[in-house]
């Protein structure tokens, strides 16, 4: 019977790391700009999950503040990208 700490260390965190790697492939080869924008958004969202698991493992609740700021940055970044992509088409 494995403990919860080793389960977080050897199962959950590697799954999240593999997810970030696969999203990076899409970020590099995405055919259009909007593909890259949603890939960045998904990377930041997965980063929030990694920060949460790391704050559980290191027993430091302060890291959740970083997760709040990252969620805010992800939303503002995606909205700003969408606004300027639409304006770029208009000119």
């Amino acid at each position: 019977m494995i403990t919860l700490e080793t389960y977080f260390d050897y199962v959950i965190l590697p799954i999240l790391a593999i997810s970030v790697m696969m999203v990076f492939i899409r970020l590099f080869k995405g055919p259009s700009l909007v593909d890259r924008v949603i890939a960045l958004d998904l990377i930041i969202t997965t980063g929030i999950g990694i920060i949460t698991v790391y704050s559980i493992r290191s027993n430091q609740a302060v890291f959740l503040d970083v997760a709040i700021i990252l969620a805010l940055i992800a939303f503002l970044g995606t909205v700003a990208f969408a606004y300027y992509i639409e304006k770029q088409k208009d000119d």
Partner: protein, 139 residues
Amino acid sequence: MIDIILAILSSIGALSILFASIGILRMPDFYLRLSVTVKASTLGVGLLLICAAIMFPDVSVTTKAIAIIFFLIITAPIAAHMIGRSAYFTGTPLWKDTVIDELAGMYNKETHELESKEEEAENPANEGPNIAKSEEETE
């Protein structure tokens, strides 16, 4: 007992984030990628944050985790709608096996306003000069 609950919740969360990243890598189209990404990743991060809320025996941490979940659930659909809308305007191609495009011809190209089909059929005379005038103005 609570360890088993935490293990189940974190497993479902991590697996749905994994499915979201497999989807963004393997789906053939931007719109399919968008639809698979937003929902699955919001679910996964929400479940991981619920794990943190159960794990820490502190009210402030629970409040913080619930605040992050609330913020993600509010903002993720708005961001997805805005990026999908701008992708449709810039002409991102649909998948070749797409069955129906219900927005085709519904958007006014000049003002970016959505119109319904009846209105377009009722007064096409009102539509024509507007577009012509605005084209003259831009030239």
